[in-house]
Amino acid sequence: MADASANPYVAVSGLRVSARRPDGSDFDIVSDIDFSLARGEVLALIGESGSGKTTIALAMLGHARNGAAITGGSIRVGDVDLASLGAADLRALRGNRICYVAQSAAAAFNPARTIMDQAIEAALVHGLMSRAEAEAKAVGLFGELGLPRPESIGRKYPHQFSGGQLQRLMAAMALMSDPDLIILDEPTTALDVTTQIGVLQAFRNVVRRRGTTAIYVSHDLAVVAQMADHILVLQQGHIVEAGRAARMIEAPEQDYTRTLMAAAHPAPSVPERGPAADVPLLEVRGVTAGYGRIDAAGHPAIPVLRDVSLSLQRGQTLGVIGESGSGKSTLARAISGLLPPARGQVLLDGAPLPPGLKGRTRDDFRRVQIVFQNADVALNPAQSVRQILKRPLAFYHGLRGAAADARIAELLDLIRLPATIGDRRCTELSGGQKQRVNLARALAANPDIILCDEVTSALDTVVGAAILDLLADLRRDLGIGMIFISHDISTVRAICDDILVLYHGHAVEQGPRDTFAEALHHPYTRLLVSSVPELRIGWLPDAGSAPPLPPVDESGNAADLCPFLARCDTRVAGLCDASFPPRHRLPTGNEILCHFADEKLLPFARGNMGAA
C-alpha cells in the first residue's frame, strides 16, 4: 500500500501462484500481487469466489493447494522470506508465527478431543510454553473473546458449542502464540447476522487490543468495512483496486468495486402489487409441524413450527426470514408435503391439499415446486443438465423427443445459460450455474408457486444478485407466486411484497414490506435489522453498544412464555415472564406476537433503526 511505512511488516511483491491444466500447460491462479502492511494493521482481501483470495491467504502460509505452486514473487513476514524456506522451516512457522482461522470452524475442530487440548496443541507442539502456562493463556483469550465461563469451557467438546462460539474458539487458538500474522478466511460467512455481529466485535476488540497484524478474507464489503485498515479488491487473480478502507468505501475508483458495493445492497425490484384475489393462491392456516411422536392434542414431540399462518397471492413474493433453526426450511417442507403438518392446513386456490405426499395428485405436485438451498447436492450428479430438465417435462407434461428438446432450449434461455450446457453434468458447472439449473428444473413444471429455500445463500453477492434479478423477471413475466426463504433481511426487503419473521418456529411478525422501513417492530425484527452490517466505517462500535441482558430465570415452563423472552431488550418482569403473548395488529398493519403494541416497541436502547 502506498501509505505503508518505508519498512513494512508484511511485504508481498509480484506474487504468482500457478496450476497445471490436464493438457500440461500452466496457468496463473493469481499474478502480480503486491501489497504491504505495517505492524498492527488489518488488510482485507475482497472478491468473488474464484478471484484468488483464499489462494493468496494460503500463500501467506507458504502453502499452495494440491496441484498448484507458488511460482514467483516474494512474501516477507517480519524478517522472514517465506519463498526461501524449506518444508521444515515453514512447518515451524505455521501455527506459531503465522496462524490461520478457517471458514467453517465446525469442520475444523476434532470432535473427539476437548477444546482445551486443541487450543493449546500448537503452542505445545512448537514448544512455546508449558502446559500450565498455555492453559492459563487460553483461559485469558477465551475471556477476551467474550466466551461464557472461560475457566471451565476448555473441558467441553466441540459439539457443545454454537457456530459463533466455535469461530471465537478458533480465533483464540490462533492467537495462542501471539503470531506475527493471523489470517482470517471468511470467518463469519456461515453465521447468522445476529451471531455475526458478536463475533465481529470479539475479533475487532482482540485484534485492536493486541495490535495483531491480520489479513481478513471476505466477500462482504460491509463486514470488511468494520475490520480493515486497507482493502484489496481482487478479480480473477488480479488486483483491481487497493487503498485505505475509508477511501475505498467512500470513493471507489473502479467500476468493479462499485459493482461489488451495489450487489451487497440489492436495489428494490418489486413490481406494483396487483389487486388481491378473493381466494389467495396459497394459504397456510395454523400449521404446526415438527418431528417425533404426535400427541393427542396434535403437538409433535419436537415442534419446529408452531401455529404459523400466511397467505400468498398470484404473482407475489412472500419473504420468510429468521436465523438458523427458526423453522424456515420446515415451513417449505410442510407446504410441499415432505413433512406432513401435525396440525393446520395448506390450501391451494382455496382447496385443502392432503397433508403429506400421499394423496396429492400429479397436478398438485406440479403446481408447488421447491428449490433447495444447496444446488451442489440438489442436482443428481449422475445426470446431465438435459436429463435433469427432461424428467419434469416428461413427468408433468408428457413432453418427449423434439418437443422436450425445444422446451429445454427455452428453459436454458430463460435462465440465461447457453444451450451447449445441456450435455454437461452438473458437477462441471459453477455454483451460480448450478443454482440456475436448480431453478430451471422447478420452472420446467410450469408451477404456480415456487418455494425458494435460501437460494442465494451459498452464492457470492454478485452471482446472488444476478439470481435475484432472474427471479424478479420470472415472477413478472410468468406471474408465479413465490415464497422466498432467507436469513438476509436486505435481500428479502429488496424483492418481497410481504415479509414473515420466524423465531423459534413462531411467526413473531408479518406484514407488507413497506412497513418494514418504519420504526415500530417486534423486538426480534429490530434486532435482525440492526445486526445487518452497514457499509459504513464505524458501524460496528455504534451497533454493538447495547449492554448484555441479564439472564432470565428459566424455572418456569418456557413453552408457555414468549419465545423471545431470553433475548428481548423490551421485556417487562411480571408480564413477559408470566404469560404467552397475544397477537396484535400494529398501526402500520403488521401483525406481531408480543405483549406490547405501542411506542414501547420503538427502539431506544439501540439508538438506531436500520432504515438504511
Binding site: 415446486q369 444447496n374 443428481n380 449422475a382 424428467r391 413427468f395
Partner: protein, 275 residues
C-alpha cells in the same frame, strides 16, 4: 449410459484401466474359445512324466497325473470366468435390488429384510454348500446358485448403507417433492449414484467366488473331474509347489491376472465416467 458414451469413457481410461480391460478381454476370449484351442483332450494322460517342465510339446508343462496343463487351463477358464461372473452378477443384482427395497420401503420391510440377511450371514458358506450339494448333487447351476446365495448378504449390506445415505440427499428429496414413485427414485436417482462403489464390491465378490469354487472343487464337490476350474487346478497340483512346477504356477498366475484385471478395470471406470 448410451453405447457411444460408454465407448467414449473407455477411450478416456487410464493406463491401468487399459491393462485391466486387456486382461479381462483376454480371459473373456479364452473362456469362449479356449476349449477349441486346446491341443489335447482335457482328461487325457499324455505325458509319462508328472510335473513336467516347459517344453515344446507341453508349453506349460504337465500336471500331477501327466496331463497337459495348457489344455486344462484353456478348458478350465470358462468355469471360473463363467461361474464366477454369473454368480457375482446374480449376487449383486439380488443384493442391490433388495437393498433398494429396504431403503425405500417401510421401516418394517427394512427390519425384516435386514434381519433375514443377518441370519444368512451367520450361516457358514461352505457348510451350507456341503448340505445343499449333498441334497441335490453337484451341478454347475447349483454351484452358481450357492455362490450367489452366499454373497447376497454382503452386497446387500453395502448397497443398503449406500442407498440409505443417498435417500437423504436433496436431489432425492427433490424427486420425492416432485411426486416421483419409489421405483423411479430407486432406479434413476439412487442407483446411478451407487454404481461405482457397487462395481468395486462386485470385483471383491468375484474374487471371493473364485476362491469358494476352488475350495469346493478341492473337496470334490465343485466342478467334477476330469473338468476343472482354475481354482481346482491350483489345488490338485499343490504338491508341485516344492519343485516350482508350472502346473501350479500357471493356474495361479491365471487367477491372479484375471482378478487383478477385473479390479484394475473397475477402479479405472469411475474416473472415466466422471469426465
Amino acid at each position: 449410459m448410451s453405447v457411444g458414451r460408454f465407448l467414449r469413457s473407455l477411450r478416456g481410461l487410464s493406463l491401468s484401466g487399459r491393462i485391466g480391460l486387456g486382461l479381462v478381454l483376454f480371459w473373456g476370449v479364452v473362456a469362449l474359445v479356449g476349449p477349441m484351442l486346446a491341443p489335447h483332450p482335457v482328461g487325457a494322460f499324455v505325458d509319462r512324466d508328472v510335473f513336467g517342465g516347459y517344453s515344446s510339446r507341453f508349453p506349460l508343462g504337465s500336471d500331477y497325473l501327466g496331463r497337459d496343463v495348457l489344455s486344462r487351463l484353456l478348458s478350465g477358464a470358462r468355469y471360473t470366468v463363467g461361474l464366477g461372473a454369473s454368480a457375482a452378477i446374480a449376487a449383486c443384482m439380488v443384493g442391490t435390488g433388495l437393498a433398494l427395497v429396504a431403503a425405500l420401503g417401510s421401516r418394517w420391510t427394512d427390519e425384516l429384510l435386514s434381519r433375514f440377511m443377518d441370519t444368512l450371514l451367520s450361516i457358514p458358506s461352505k457348510i451350507l454348500a456341503l448340505v445343499l450339494i449333498a441334497a441335490f448333487g453337484s451341478s454347475l447351476l447349483l454351484l452358481m446358485v450357492i455362490a450367489a446365495f452366499t454373497y447376497v448378504p454382503g452386497n446387500y449390506r453395502i448397497a443398503r448403507a449406500l442407498a440409505v445415505n443417498l435417500n437423504q440427499t436433496d436431489f432425492v428429496v427433490a424427486a420425492r417433492a416432485r411426486g416421483e414413485r419409489a421405483t423411479h427414485i430407486a432406479l434413476f436417482e439412487i442407483l446411478p449414484n451407487m454404481i461405482h462403489p457397487l462395481l468395486a464390491d462386485f470385483g471383491l465378490r468375484f474374487v471371493f467366488i473364485v476362491l469358494l469354487l476352488s475350495a469346493l472343487s478341492f473337496l470334490g464337490l465343485g466342478v467334477q473331474p476330469p473338468a476343472a476350474d482354475l481354482g481346482s487346478l491350483v489345488r490338485e497340483n499343490i504338491s508341485g509347489i516344492v519343485e516350482g512346477a508350472p502346473a501350479i504356477l500357471m493356474p495361479a498366475l491365471a487367477i491372479a491376472t484375471l482378478t487383478v484385471g477385473v479390479n484394475l478395470l473397475i477402479d479405472a471406470l469411475p474416473r472415466a465416467g466422471r469426465r
